[in-house]
């Protein structure tokens, strides 16, 4: 069995090459992405722990089966996120009887606030964070996915383009629309609170 310490200084591409020769090295790759991917799948789908673990295991197996497809000119993280994203979306489509109720942790909030979301500060300060997160959860999927990747996962446009398999220009447009839609929802939420 390969130890994690044996892999610490190896790049993702090196680990992919080693995994193709020795399955045990694949453990290092999985361990490296286990936590980020399970968080991403959760934020995207809001599924329960058991489903999340099932999805993640399937994602790792799919990734292993397709290791020879990986092109070292691309970021491995984008590639494995793409597989995770596609598999999660397809699972979400198959499961019709679940409600999207995602609770965000403090880390998410920090990420969100440190990101270049650029919503007017006074707007954010005027509403409580729980409301903000509810509003994000209620964004349509195509906006929520770019929103999560950009402002929570901290991915750049090229990475998002590679994960979602969309042109960079389209990613930019979706991010702008998502921001605009969120601002509108915040404004509407403020109005409702004022009137209520």
């Amino acid at each position: 069995m390969v130890k994690i310490s044996d892999c610490e200084h190896k790049t993702d591409s090196e680990l992919v090459a080693l995994s193709l020769k020795n399955q045990d090295y694949y453990y290092c790759l999985m361990k490296r992405y286990e936590s980020p991917l399970i968080n991403y799948i959760y934020r995207l789908s809001g599924m329960n722990r058991m489903d999340l673990e099932d999805i993640l295991q399937e994602v790792f197996i799919l990734t292993y089966q397709n290791l020879n497809e990986y092109n070292a000119n691309f970021k491995f993280s984008s590639w494995i996120y793409r597989i995770a994203h596609n598999y999660t979306i397809s699972t979400m489509r198959k499961k019709t009887n679940y409600n999207l109720s995602i609770s965000w942790d403090e880390y998410d909030l920090e990420q969100l606030l440190q990101s270049d979301l650029n919503l007017e500060n006074n707007v954010i300060q005027k509403i409580d964070y729980e409301n903000l997160l509810n509003l994000i959860n209620n964004l349509p999927l195509k906006y929520r996915e770019v929103f999560l990747l950009r402002f929570v996962e901290g991915k750049d446009y090229q990475e998002i383009s590679d994960i979602l398999q969309k042109p960079i220009g389209t990613v930019g447009t979706l991010i702008n629309r998502a921001k605009k839609m969120l601002s509108q929802k915040i404004e509407m939420d403020k109005q409702v609170q004022k009137n209520g």
Binding site: E34, Q65, P167
Partner: protein, 248 residues
């Protein structure tokens, strides 16, 4: 929380899961490139047919038939080939977007590039007479094809309105007559005594011509003007083809 990575590795080993071979992914990628190439060529053929059928129409004939320009355009647009062109352009886009990095390019960019390539190649097909050959093959091999496109055949096969087209079978200069087989293989005797011949080409056997005139009876037609068909002119442009089509 369970060690998912450890459990997954165990499952991979127990179920003897192995990575798919590299050639599988390479051939998948090459397949989409091949399909991209194929649909680009099909799009080029469609675009060359649009050029052929649009260029094939004699626009100066419409006023003669009492048809105004907007109606003439509506009648003569090769809808079938325009639809096929856009269909192939979309399939080309689909195939390109399925290649390894195809998703990075916007639909409109791929679509316009495909249109440009198809138009350039299509112009090449048209210039070298290949679209003419395809058109002939389709007209002879596919029943009902000529009903789907306007083109020369439909435009010039209206003897009752003074338009006739076909191939010269016999020239009888002493009688001022030519025997013509029209595009539907019907035989006609054409009176050319008062006909003006457009173009500097002597009338000869196997020459495809278009005639403006008047139908005199079931098999008789009086010509006012004779035009040499495009097929001949195109052959003239391509020396070899000219000799092959007109051995005389």
């Amino acid at each position: 929380m369970a060690d998912i990575s450890k459990e997954t590795l165990k499952k991979i080993k127990e179920e003897r899961i192995i990575p798919r071979p590299r050639w599988y992914f390479l051939s998948k990628n090459y397949f989409f490139w091949l399909m991209f190439l194929l649909t680009t060529i099909l799009g080029s053929i469609a675009s060359s047919m649009v050029l052929l059928l649009t260029g094939d129409v004699d626009w100066d004939i419409f006023p003669y038939l009492g048809i105004n320009l907007p109606k003439a355009i509506l009648i003569s647009l090769p809808y079938l080939w325009i639809i096929l062109l856009f269909f192939f352009l979309y399939i080309t886009y689909y195939n390109f977007s399925r290649t390894r990095t195809g998703y990075r390019y916007r639909f409109i960019l791929i679509f316009l590039m495909s249109l440009l390539i198809s138009s350039l190649l299509g112009w090449g097909f048209y210039y070298y007479g290949w679209s003419e050959i395809i058109d002939r093959q389709l007209r002879t091999r596919i029943p009902g094809y000529h009903h789907l496109v306007y083109g020369r055949q439909k435009q010039w096969m209206q003897p009752e309105r003074g338009l006739l087209s076909g191939t010269i079978m016999i020239v009888e200069p002493d009688k001022n007559l030519i025997q013509l087989k029209d595009l539907y293989s019907k035989n006609w005797a054409i009176d050319i005594s008062q006909a003006r011949i457009r173009g500097n080409v002597p009338l000869s056997r196997d020459l495809e011509i278009k005639i403006l005139g008047k139908q005199m009876s079931e098999h008789d037609f009086k010509a006012d003007e004779i035009r040499v068909s495009r097929g001949f002119q195109q052959g003239k442009r391509m020396g070899l083809k000219f000799n092959r089509l007109n051995p005389e």
